[in-house]
């Protein structure tokens, strides 16, 4: 634990973290890109999740996921990359913030949910257009939405904790 704290202190005294703090514009720019990433991720993910939960039954899942998955992936990548930069500015402080810890936990849970869904037979069947319904897939969609919404809320609360 002590070593981790020292590592985080090293990170926040590094050049990148220093630039993030000292530049008048870098922080707000990175912050904006972080929000853009979240908007793309949650916007895309919620469309697919609602479909999996039973909305727009006439829209085929394969076509929808072809659009939505790359958009969500881009959003996630952008949010992760900018998130690391934002974290660096006060690494030791954020790491000790319980809301930040919850946010990281929720991200891990959301990604585990995603991985489990993508490996399931029900998802493969939905991708081939043979079966688009199913309780398992609907629950995965519901959990996904709940978890990403939790990530969003926790992320916003960090600054006010």
């Amino acid at each position: 634990m002590e070593d981790l704290l020292l590592l985080l202190k090293d990170l926040e005294t590094g050049m990148l973290a220093e630039a993030m703090r000292k530049s008048p514009w870098l922080f707000p720019i990175v912050n904006t890109l972080h929000i853009l990433g979240i908007a793309l991720l949650f916007g895309a993910v919620s469309c697919l999740d609602l479909r999996l939960m039973g909305a727009w039954k006439t829209v085929p899942v394969p076509g929808l996921s072809r659009i939505v998955v790359p958009v969500a992936g881009t959003g996630l990548g952008l949010a992760l990359a900018t998130g690391v930069l934002l974290f660096l500015t006060r690494a030791s402080r954020y790491a000790q913030n319980p809301v930040f810890q919850i946010k990281m936990g929720l991200i891990v849970l959301a990604l585990v949910n995603l991985a489990l869904l993508h490996r399931s037979a029900a998802w493969k069947a939905a991708q081939e257009g043979t079966a688009t319904e199913g309780r398992r897939v609907a629950w995965a969609g519901f959990l996904s939405m709940l978890l990403w919404l939790g990530v969003l809320i926790a992320g916003r609360i960090i600054a006010y904790w």
Partner: protein, 125 residues
Amino acid sequence: MRRLAAATILSTFFYLSQYGQIEAHHYFANFHEEQMVLRGKIVDVFIENPHGILTVKAGGHEWDVYLGSVRHSNRVGLSEDLFRRGDPIVIYGHPSVNPDDFELMSIRIIYRGKTYEIFQDIGDR
């Protein structure tokens, strides 16, 4: 699945409930309505984003005095070069609701006979 969701929510609340004491900063509601005057000596100053921090030693404690963003600090006339460590400084501000934090949301800084207006008074919110 339903049980898993319920367990997740419950454990989140349990986790949060262990942090009864809020590590307050950034949020005006976490600062006391009454203003106070802090007279001390400069330990360190960081004009930074998302907000600057001025560390002041007063009455045997180190206080974290919160400033605005880099742009805001520059606009009100503050820069890191302005301050010299060990110099006396007077700060008007709102202390954290938790007195053990020794944190102050700055309203006005008086340094070397000059007054710097930081945030407008949040006492009337």
